[in-house]
């Protein structure tokens, strides 16, 4: 493995701070907002139905989505927070954020077109767990979260991640670890 000098961006990534920020913000938010959806699946089902994206028949599709999605958010958020399966959880949460954002923006546009409400004044309960929200602010927030989620997928750093503990143990049992693999800030899963 070559020891090429790191680019400034990779140097910053190697500090582990960008990833830590992404993990805390995205992971913490998803884990926290999943709890009310898990506690009240019926109301979350109603919110999903409001978007009209999923067909009503067969009902299993809507119902399974309402049951499973909050748990994907919770486990994905916790995994990111703890630093386990960082790339996978980042990818799942990024995909969900992109889907949510498109759905919210489409619904806002639909309200704008049918009711004539100015886009900047449109507010509704997006089913995100935060109650009534101003939609343009929600879309902007989601864009920031998408960037942070993608950062989690892209980052090579595993500093302050629980996965580092497991990989260290694995390497300790290995007969000939490579020198580069012993640098915790540059470990990959």
């Amino acid at each position: 493995m070559s020891d090429r000098p790191l680019t400034p961006i990779r140097s910053l990534d190697a500090t582990g701070l960008p990833l830590l920020l992404a993990r805390l913000v995205v992971g913490g938010m998803f884990a926290w907002l999943a709890l009310p959806k898990i506690a009240r699946p019926g109301e979350f089902l109603k919110e999903i139905h409001t978007y009209g994206i999923l067909p009503e028949t067969p009902p299993q599709l809507l119902n399974l989505t309402a049951v499973a999605m909050p748990w994907i958010e919770l486990l994905g958020g916790l995994a990111l927070l703890l630093g386990l399966l960082v790339r996978g959880s980042g990818a799942v949460l990024a995909a969900m954020l992109i889907a949510f954002t498109v759905a919210i923006a489409s619904r806002a546009l639909s309200i704008h077109n049918t009711q004539g409400t100015p886009l900047l004044e449109i507010a509704f309960d997006c089913g995100c767990g935060t109650g009534l929200v101003i939609i343009w602010k929600k879309v902007l927030t989601n864009i920031v979260l998408i960037v942070l989620s993608i950062l989690a997928v892209w980052s090579h750093s595993r500093r302050w991640c629980l996965s580092t503990l497991f990989s260290r143990r694995g390497r300790a049992a290995s007969p000939s670890p490579s020198p580069s693999a012993l640098r915790p800030a540059q470990n990959t899963e």
């Binding site: 898990i38 506690a39 009240r40 699946p41 019926g42 109301e43 089902l45 109603k46 139905h49 009503e56 028949t57 009902p59 299993q60 809507l62 119902n63 399974l64 309402a66 049951v67 499973a68 909050p70 748990w71 994907i72 919770l74 486990l75 994905g76 995994a79 399966l85 960082v86 790339r87 996978g88 959880s89 980042g90 990818a91 799942v92 995909a95 997928v153 892209w154 990959t188 899963e189």
Partner: protein, 221 residues
């Protein structure tokens, strides 16, 4: 292993694990969803024809027994009774009962029927289909509550009352709210209440409070 492949494998592992946990949790939770149940089945709605016809006779609550006592005075934290509110007149007797539809009541009809709710009687029952917070904040006097998105928590107590009633008026927030329709549909199809006993107040809470009719706060009906 490439970063992309790693991300996809980890994502798959995460989703499979989460779906497994979700199904297990849903199976043991008393708030769990029934996966094969159509929660959005809607009964046909029959709008009243000519409800605003001023020449119609004053409302006579047909399901009420002839010897039913006069409208009772409500007690507790009733607010803003407005006896001067002009009422529309219409008669349910004029509306043909449609075997396949849920009949809609006007505000005036709902107001009049509400006067026949008594503490001990169950002939006319109002059912509030909003959540706990909204119900505590204010509801139509005498209305029981069933949150249709957590109905199992309310049905053991409320269903026996509804089974003894001859008139059940369902309402929710009004406006675009459809929870009262879903609740009424389930009362008929899932819980076997006679369709002819179930009515819908589409204007709901919004229309009721907009007319300054009395409201009651707290958990008691």
């Amino acid at each position: 292993m490439g970063a992309f492949k790693t991300a996809m494998l980890e994502a798959l592992l995460l989703v499979v694990a989460a779906v497994g946990v979700a199904l297990a949790a849903n199976a043991v939770s008393d708030r769990g969803l029934k996966l094969s149940k159509d929660y959005f089945r809607r009964i046909q709605i029959v709008e009243p024809a000519g409800a605003k016809d001023a020449n119609r006779a004053p409302i006579v609550p047909a399901p009420a027994p002839a010897d039913r006592p006069a409208p009772t005075s409500t007690t507790g934290d009733i607010a803003t009774p407005d006896a001067t509110t002009p009422r529309e007149s219409s008669s349910l007797a004029d509306e043909p009962l449609t075997a396949e539809g849920l009949r809609v009541l006007s505000l005036a009809e709902v107001y009049d029927y509400n006067q026949y709710i008594t503490e001990d009687g169950a002939s006319i029952v109002f059912v509030d289909a909003r959540n706990d917070e909204a119900y505590r904040h204010g509801h139509i006097p005498g209305a029981l509550q069933i949150d249709p998105w957590n109905e199992d928590a309310y049905l053991p107590e409320v269903l026996p009352v509804l089974q003894g009633a001859t008139m059940i008026v369902c309402y929710c927030g009004g406006g675009d709210c459809e929870d009262s329709i879903h609740l009424a549909t389930r009362l008929v199809f899932d819980h076997g209440l006679p369709l002819e006993n179930v009515y819908l107040f589409k204007g709901g809470w919004e229309e009721w409070t907009g007319a300054n009719h009395p409201v009651r706060t707290g958990e008691a009906p």
